[in-house]
């Protein structure tokens, strides 16, 4: 069984990936954002009494993806937890490049945070030694290495889960850094192009499921690269087996995203588009992004971590065919699922009130709304019948 738990962290990312087989449960974490005083990924670890992470993926160094690392490192250290691998942000190996990026992204106004993030990286690196476990976590830079053959898939970072880094490669990184250095007054957004993009592969009874995590990817050239690599590495099976797409940059609209999805997702396949976004923010997700999904993919569910009145208003009109699942209705929704065919579904509530869970098991693929504000947007009312999402 595989579960993807998209935690609500407002503007930012924090995703838990869980796989389970007869030998036990295995967990990995993609990014770790703090929201207010809370770090939802820590709450998840606590609640589920998790003391071992297979892999901690850090997609890039922006605040909204790593601000929870200091708390996470402290928690793991204090709870005697261990980690097998840490996938670090993709930067050229020279410490000087790290200096530049950190100085650029974290001005001295954020010095305390900057320093605590650096301390936490070292703490995480030494966590196994500190907690008397064997070995230290493997620190990995996951460049796209140009390999688009089946051998590109890596299978040892998470039990039963293969994956490939699709972007960036070393040359991209260097080019992006150089351009940022030259461009005075750069907003720091160009560093989103350095963000890791991963594609994951999971098998249930020899059926392949693909998941695309696009981090904060921006830039048409990068999207074009990702599209081509996706199609090559999956031997175009992505057209039929992509079932989960983590929408990049919290739903900000991009032409590159549109072009990429049009090429790699067959319109007739059901899939879930997950958007990790704040409430009431006009850019995240943008109206154009939501409409693009609605207009192009008939069997697409868009799940946002935060329902906002803003989204609701935008999508109610003009089509009036967008059923909304607001928190008050969720229980009814869950009850209706239980009452129908899925009485055996183990309904997992997200630890954060408005996170959501996406689950694949032998019965198929399920979307499980959390207990709070998570919402599901779709232009097909029948999609609420989860049979639609059963492969």
């Amino acid at each position: 069984m595989l579960e993807i738990i998209v935690l609500n962290v407002g503007l930012g990312d924090s995703v838990v990936i869980k796989t389970q087989d007869n030998s036990g449960c295995y967990y990995s974490l993609i990014d770790c954002k703090k929201i207010g005083e809370s770090v939802p990924s820590i709450e998840f670890l606590k609640k589920n009494k998790i003391t071992h992470l297979n892999t901690l993926f850090i997609t890039h160094l922006h605040y909204d993806h790593i601000s929870g690392l200091p708390d996470l490192a402290n928690y793991l250290e204090n709870e005697d937890c261990t980690i097998d691998n840490i996938v670090i942000p993709n930067l050229p190996g020279d410490p000087g490049d790290w200096f530049f990026v950190l100085e650029y992204l974290y001005p001295d106004t954020l010095k305390t945070l900057r320093k605590s993030i650096l301390e936490s990286l070292n703490k995480l690196k030494n966590i196994n030694v500190k907690n008397k476990a064997d070995g230290i976590p493997t620190i990995l830079t996951m460049n796209f290495e140009g390999n688009t053959k089946p051998s590109a898939w890596r299978d040892h970072l998470h039990k039963k889960l293969d994956f490939v880094a699709l972007s960036p490669n070393a040359i991209d990184s260097l080019a992006i850094l150089r351009s940022a250095i030259k461009k005075s007054g750069d907003s720091g957004e160009s560093f989103n192009s350095l963000c890791h993009v991963f594609i994951f592969r999971y098998y249930v009874d020899s059926i392949e499921y693909l998941f695309l995590f696009t981090g904060d990817l921006v830039g048409q050239r990068n999207w074009r690269n990702v599209t081509n690599r996706c199609l090559s590495i999956t031997n175009k099976s992505i057209l039929n087996t992509l079932c989960f797409f983590k929408v990049s940059h919290h739903g900000a609209y991009q032409i590159g995203l549109k072009t990429c999805l049009e090429k790699i997702i067959a319109v007739y396949r059901p899939f879930l588009a997950a958007i990790s976004c704040p409430a009431n923010n006009p850019k995240h997700p943008s109206e154009d992004t939501l409409k693009f999904f609605q207009n192009h993919f008939e069997n697409c569910c868009i799940a946002c971590t935060n329902v906002s009145a803003y989204c609701q208003d935008k999508l109610k009109s003009p089509q009036q065919i967008n059923p909304f699942l607001l928190s008050a209705q969720e229980e009814l929704f869950l009850d209706s699922i239980k009452a129908e065919k899925h009485t055996s579904i183990n309904i997992l509530q997200g630890v954060c009130a408005d996170s959501f869970v996406y689950k694949i098991d032998r019965k198929g693929l399920h979307y499980l709304p959390g207990s709070g504000n998570s919402c599901i947007l779709t232009n097909c009312e029948e999609c609420f019948n989860l049979n639609k999402f059963t492969f």
Binding site: R114, K115, L118, N281
Partner: protein, 190 residues
């Protein structure tokens, strides 16, 4: 600082100070601007500015140095040129700092420029992230004391002035890693 000094006393002391403390920096200039807003029995309400420090204050303590009731509602500059006066300015800064507290400094980004009918940009739309929450503010370009363009990064300083909070926009300043931070990176990448 002797709060009972008048500005005239200060002038005299400046001269004395220059004479008596020659090893200090006599060329340092500080410009204290005081605008008295109101004067009530026994107390003054005014705004005071020294350099980048501004505070609205009420009370008879500070304004004992300015026994000039006739200056109500006028800008009253004191050019402080002496080392002794510099010390007075420092004391005032300290005092003002207590009244005018910086409670946060947040990175922000200009995400849009509003134009007038002639197509000239007049307002900046600024996204600022405060403890994970995203806010959007609009500021007339004329109120921003430095040039901004679309996607300019800026810093927003939030100050508590009495019971109210005020936002101050500052040009973005790139960070500088200290030795310890550089060491941490090298250790991590080792």
């Amino acid at each position: 600082m002797d709060l009972t000094e008048t500005h005239l006393d200060l002038k005299e002391k400046k001269i004395n100070a220059v004479e008596n403390i020659p090893d200090r920096e006599p060329h340092k200039l500080e410009n204290l601007r005081v605008k008295l807003i109101d004067w009530t029995a026994g107390a003054a309400i005014a705004s005071m500015t020294i350099g980048t420090y501004t505070a609205s204050v009420r009370g008879d303590d500070i304004f004992d140095v300015l026994e000039q009731k006739s200056l109500v509602s006028q800008v009253y500059p004191i050019n402080i040129v002496s080392p002794k006066a510099k010390t007075v300015a420092d004391d005032l800064k300290e005092l003002l700092a207590q009244l005018d507290e910086v409670i946060g400094l947040y990175p922000a980004l200009v995400v849009g420029l509003e134009e007038n009918l002639s197509g000239d940009p007049v307002k900046a739309i600024i996204d600022v992230s405060v403890e994970g929450k995203q806010y959007q503010i609009k500021k007339p370009l004329t109120s921003i004391p430095f040039p901004v363009k679309l996607y300019s990064r800026i810093d927003i300083e939030v100050r508590q002035i009495g019971s109210s909070k005020k936002l101050y926009l500052k040009p973005f300043k790139q960070g500088h890693l200290d030795e310890e931070e550089q060491k941490l990176i090298k250790e991590f990448l080792k």
